[in-house]
Symmetry: C2
Subunit: 399 residues, 2 copies
C-alpha cells in the first residue's frame, strides 16, 4: 500500500504518449495548442479608429474652430490624405486613421453644419485620442500563444486574427475503458434481480469527453481466459487502459495477476485512501499505462478525477492550481487513510466553501448528483474542524 502522495509521485513519473494533429480552427475549441503562435503583423496592424467621428490634425485645433469635412474614411478602405490642416475627415470605427490626422473627435463631442464640423469649444483636444494605435496590443513576431495553451474562445479569436485556419493541437493517448464484474449488464438490458446495469464506463467516457479525450468502452466477463485474451489485444491496440472493477481481494479478482502475466509491471496496488483503496497502477515494457480502478462507482469517480485527469493535464503542460475550500461543518474520520469527502463546493461572499454531503458509501453514485467536489482530508488527522480550509478536487464547473 502506498500513500496518496506516493501514488501521485509514481504516476507523475510515467509519461502520457501525446501526438500532434492538425485540426480546422472551428474544431479546435477545447483542444490544447501544440505549436507556438506569433503575430504575423502588429496588432492592431494600423492606427485604428476606435470611435465614429472626425479625424483632424490636433496641432491645427483651437477652441471654437470649425473644420471643413473633406471626405469620409470607411473601415476597410485605403487611407485618405488630409489635404489641409483646416479640413477634417469623417471616420468610422475600425477604419485606418487618415494620413495627416492624429486624433479623432467623437460625433457627440461636436456639431455638424453646412459641411463643417465644429468640436465643442470646451473640448480638450489631445493627439491620439479615440485611436487604437498600431502595435499597442502586440508587435509583429511577438509570441501570442505557447504550446500547452487551452483553446478557449479568446484563443480562437487570436488564432483567427493571425490567419491560423488550421492549427496543431495535441492528440491524447488512445484509450479504452474496460468494465469488469459479472453482475453488470448492458444499459438496454432488463436486469435480473441480482444484476445491475453498467454505469462506470458511461461516467468515465463522459469525464474523458470533457477533456476532449475519446475512449472506446468495453465489458469483459470475469473469466481468466477471456480477460487474458482481450487485455493482450487491448495492450496492443491502445496506449492507456482504464479498468474498473476486479482489483480488490476477492476470489474472482483476477485482474492484477493477469496484468502482470501480460507484462504490465505493477507500480502500486492499494492506496491509503477512502474511497478507492484497491487502486492498481502499472506499465508495460512498451510504455502502455494501465489504471485499474476499484469498481465501486464513487471510487472509480474519485480515482479518475484525483489521478487520471491531473495526469493528462500535466502531460499537456496545463497548470493545475491548488484550490482550497473552507469546511462549513466539522468532519470526523478515524481511519489512517486520506479521506476524500464528497461535498458541495460553492462560492459565496468572496470565499470558497465546502459543505459535506457524505452519501451512503462508495457504491452510492446517486449522491454524486448532489455534489461537485471531493475534499481531500489528510490521513494524519481525525477531526477536521469547521472553518478550516482543505484542498478540493472539483468535477463540475462551479459557475
Amino acid at each position: 500500500m502506498v500513500s496518496v502522495r506516493e501514488a501521485d509521485e509514481i504516476i507523475a513519473q510515467v509519461p502520457a504518449v501525446l501526438s500532434v494533429k492538425s485540426v480546422l480552427l472551428r474544431e479546435a475549441t477545447g483542444c490544447v495548442l501544440a505549436e507556438e503562435i506569433r503575430a504575423d503583423r502588429d496588432i492592431p496592424p494600423y492606427d485604428r479608429v476606435a470611435m465614429d467621428g472626425f479625424a483632424i490634425d490636433s496641432g491645427a485645433y483651437a477652441a471654437g474652430k470649425s473644420f471643413r469635412i473633406a471626405g469620409i474614411q470607411p473601415a476597410g478602405s485605403e487611407p485618405l490624405l488630409l489635404a489641409s490642416p483646416n479640413d477634417c475627415i469623417e471616420v468610422m470605427t475600425g477604419a485606418l486613421l487618415p494620413n495627416g490626422t492624429n486624433t479623432v473627435i467623437r460625433y457627440e463631442d461636436g456639431e455638424v453644419a453646412e459641411g463643417y464640423f465644429r468640436p465643442h469649444p470646451e473640448l480638450q483636444v489631445m493627439p491620439y485620442v479615440n485611436i487604437h494605435r498600431k502595435g499597442t496590443d502586440a508587435r509583429r513576431d511577438d509570441v501570442l500563444l505557447s504550446p500547452g495553451t487551452f483553446i478557449s474562445p479568446a484563443e480562437a479569436a487570436i488564432l483567427a486574427s493571425v490567419g491560423k485556419a488550421t492549427v496543431s493541437v495535441y492528440e491524447l493517448p488512445r484509450a479504452v475503458v474496460i468494465s469488469t464484474g459479472d453482475e453488470l449488464v448492458p444499459v438496454d438490458a432488463h436486469p435480473q434481480p441480482h444484476q445491475i446495469r453498467q454505469s462506470n464506463t458511461y461516467a468515465l467516457q463522459a469525464a474523458m469527453h470533457a477533456l476532449n479525450w475519446k475512449a472506446e468502452a468495453v465489458h469483459i466477463k470475469d473469466d481468466d481466459q477471456e480477460l487474458r485474451k482481450r487485455l493482450a489485444q487491448f495492450l496492443n491496440d491502445f496506449d492507456v487502459l482504464i479498468l474498473t472493477g476486479g482489483v480488490s481481494k476477492g476470489k474472482f479478482d483476477y485482474l492484477p495477476r493477469v496484468l502482470e502475466d501480460l507484462g504490465v509491471k505493477k507500480l502500486f496496488h492499494q492506496v491509503a485512501q477512502k474511497p478507492g483503496k484497491p487502486f492498481w497502477f502499472g506499465m508495460s515494457n512498451s510504455g502502455k499505462v494501465v489504471f485499474a480502478l476499484p469498481g465501486n462507482p464513487v471510487s472509480t469517480y474519485l480515482c479518475f478525477y484525483r489521478y487520471i485527469r491531473p495526469w493528462i493535464l500535466r502531460s499537456l503542460h496545463i497548470p493545475i492550481p491548488l484550490v482550497e475550500a473552507e469546511l462549513t461543518e466539522e468532519v470526523i474520520f478515524k481511519p489512517t487513510l486520506t479521506y476524500f469527502l464528497q461535498a458541495e463546493v460553492y462560492l459565496s461572499r468572496g470565499k470558497v466553501w465546502a459543505r459535506p454531503v457524505a452519501g451512503h458509501g462508495s457504491g452510492d453514485f446517486v449522491n454524486l448528483k448532489n455534489v461537485n467536489a471531493f475534499v481531500e482530508l489528510p490521513a494524519d488527522q481525525t477531526v477536521f474542524p469547521a472553518g478550516k480550509t482543505f484542498p478540493i478536487i472539483t468535477f463540475r464547473p462551479l459557475f
Copy 2:
C-alpha cells in the same frame, strides 16, 4: 440608452425557443436533460455486498467461533442460502447478500484454515456491516433527475443505471453568427494593410460550442441591399441572429435601420456600460431574436458572456449563481457607466480574488488570453477599493 439592469430585464422577458431531441446516452454529456428520470428499481436493487469477505448470520456469532465455508457467492449470481447458522458463505464485492446471512466480515478481519473462517476474536460483529442495503440510495419511482439538469459524468452514470440508452435533451435555438465590417477578410486571406482578419465569429462560435450550441457563421458586406436581402433570409431560417459590428453611430452602420425595416422591433439600443455600449437588441413578430453586438472584440465577448449565455442558461432552467470576487487593487472609473473590468480571477486561501488586467481598450482581444473574467463595477461609483467584493462573469473554467 438603458441601464445594465434594464437590459437584463428586457432580455429576460424574451423567451428562447427550445425544442427537445432524443440522443444516445454516450452523446448526451454536456446536454441538458428534458425529461424527468425516475428509478426503475430500488438503488441498490438488492442488499449488495460492499467488501470481499464472508457473510454470516450475526445472531450466530460469538467471539472465537469458526464458521464452515459452505459456498461462494460471486457477483452476478442468484443468491445462495445459508443452510446452517454455523456456516458462512464467501462473498465478492457487488454480489447479492446470500439468503440467511445479515453481515459481512472482511477477509482481513479473520483467518481461513481448513475450510473454516474464524473472525478475529476481538472483532465487534454487528448486523448489516459491509453491506450496501437495498434502496438506501434511492427507492423505486424516486425522481433521480429533473428536466433542466446538466448532464455531467455523474448524471451519465445515473441515466445508465436506470436503462436510459437514449435520453431526451433540449435542443438550443437555431442560431447564426453574422459579422459585418468591410475591413474584415477571411482567416485564410492575406490582408491588405488596411484590412484585418475576422475573429469575432470564431470567438462566438467557440463560446457557443462550450454550451453545446451549434451556430453557422457568415460575413455580410456593409451594403444596404446586401444586408437587407441576407438578413431577411436569416430571419426566416434561424431563431436567433447574433450580429457583430454595425451598431454604432457611423454613416455605414445601417444595421438598426435595416433590422427595423425587416420587422425586428428594437427593444433597446445602447446600454450604459463600458465596453459594449452600442449593443442593440430586438425581436420580430414571429419571435425571432436578434442580438446585435458592437464589433470591437472585447465588447462582443462581454455582451455574449454577460447577456447571451445567461439568457440561454435561464431558458434551460439552469441556475446561475451570483459569484463575487475581492479586488486585489483599487480601480478608478469615472464615467457613469457600468464598467466591466477585465481581470484574472483566482481562488487562493479559500477566497476568490480578482486581479485587474485592464488591456488597451475594447479593441484589444489579445488581452483576453491573460484574463478569465469581467468584474462588474456599478455605474454609481467612481472608486472601487481594494478588498471590496464585486460580482464577476467568468469566461474560462477556473480549475
